[in-house]
């Protein structure tokens, strides 16, 4: 299977599922549903839900089994971007080349639309109950992982450390820790949650977790490399490339992807798509 084709095909499946899941723009209060759709359909690559679907396939399952879960991950990801962009946080006026949500709908609607997206994310994951082959205990397990990866130990904690970190604290250890929390954790949730719904064995789950954390860290480093090179937004102080330079950053990103792919050796050829995705992440920053 050609990776690019597979990526586009899954992206369409995810976009269609999200479109069916979200309330229409005419549903009252219409302003928040318009805001939600503005953010969800603003050109995201659907990396996280793609990983959920690819994980299911890797484990010999149909993607339909984890489609609700995958959409839930993307909705929660969108929530985190909206709140992260707010004036009192990163104060980003643009997201994916379009004005960010609060610039178009105002800060109040952006805050509440973000809240609603978190709720919709959980709602979508809960819809997995409609799928017969999925056990109730698996859904509860996935939800427990979700709150763990989303809470102050991980995603939200990483966002807070990102805004409170001083540039003199930006050593390798601290940067890894923040990248793990603010980026790798949700990628990890996307892969592990899917694996749990597909009843992966412990050994498989461990390998996939290592893969997830490695590509997650590499993804954030390449993202920061891109920001630094394109100089698109106000220079962030506490990033890996800013602190340790482009050369070391590229080497680290490469090493992480190499190790990610090694983690999946037990799956043999079945890991082809996941490995291609890992290479794709690296290619963005080089």
């Amino acid at each position: 299977m050609n990776f690019k084709e597979d990526f586009e095909e899954k992206k369409d499946i995810i976009d269609n599922a999200l479109n069916r899941l979200l309330p229409g723009e005419e549903v009252e209060p219409a302003i928040v549903h318009r805001a939600i759709r503005y953010s969800v359909f603003s050109g995201g690559k659907r990396l996280r839900p793609f990983l959920s679907l690819a994980t299911a396939e890797l484990l010999g399952n149909k993607i339909e089994k984890v489609l609700y879960f995958a959409c839930g991950i993307e909705l929660i990801h969108t929530f985190s971007l909206i709140h992260d962009d707010l004036p009192s946080l990163d104060n980003d006026d643009f997201r994916r080349g379009k004005p960010s949500l609060h610039k178009v709908f105002g800060e109040n609607i952006a805050i509440l639309a973000g809240d609603a997206l978190m709720v919709l994310g959980f709602q979508s994951i809960l819809k997995s109950e409609e799928i017969k082959e999925i056990k109730k205990s698996s859904i509860l397990k996935v939800l427990k992982e979700m709150v763990y990866f989303l809470g102050t130990e991980n995603l939200l904690g990483g966002q807070i450390e990102d805004i409170t970190m001083k540039s003199e604290e930006a050593n390798r250890e601290n940067l890894y820790k923040i990248y793990q929390k603010k980026t790798a954790s949700l990628i990890c949730a996307a892969i592990r949650g899917s694996a749990i719904l597909c009843q992966a064995r412990q050994k498989e789950l461990k390998a996939l977790t290592r893969f997830a954390n490695n590509i997650g860290l590499s993804f954030q480093i390449t993202d920061d490399i891109l920001d630094l090179m394109q100089d698109q937004r106000e220079m962030k102080q506490c990033t890996y490339p800013h602190t340790f330079g482009l050369k070391e950053s590229k080497e680290v990103a490469e090493k992480l992807i190499k190790e990610a792919k090694e983690s999946l050796e037990m799956f043999g050829e079945k890991a082809e798509i996941m490995n291609a995705l890992a290479d794709y992440i690296l290619s963005r920053g080089s």
Copy 2:
């Protein structure tokens, strides 16, 4: 049982449980955990979790069975207050006589602490799985209700309508609708969720739902009466007492409480505490 004693006793049980559930103030990132505790322990009456515990007792269950759930409701309630107080929303500098969270910790921390409280709320509800007598299917059902009552159809939708409503739209029908969404829905979730965990029969659930909606509406009207009389914050335009006067508002609040108590007639004397709570709600605004 004396109502006031029962109310205080349950409040202590809830406060202790919340204290055990929440991360300590020293846990990193400490600033967000300090912010969370500032908001959660700021003198809330614990009305919603009290209702969850009282519902369990009314149905012949121990309160321990629904304690995690009750705490989850209070954490989600606290999240909604924090975001509601933000400058771009209600812009309230004070909450329960203390400076509101964003005044003390800044807007960025208030936004993320609110987000984290929603996550902690779900996490607390999920902990109900530790209680043996609770079925996994009941927890999933409660979570599905939770996202329904919390989403844009209810709580968050009500908050949005509250900020977008124009004073000429403040007719009885619209005000009831907003009060139902922004206030009654979470009170309804607190009572229904507890009843579901206690495997209430359909008839009991229906009676309790009617009770919940009635006291929820009455609670918001008496709240607005108190605001109007004390003139503590900037005059809100779209409230029942502002639009239809104190006299009619008090009459409506009274009628709602009368009907709430009638809904519980089937429970006989066992509804004593719930009925006393209903009277307490009314007494606040008179």
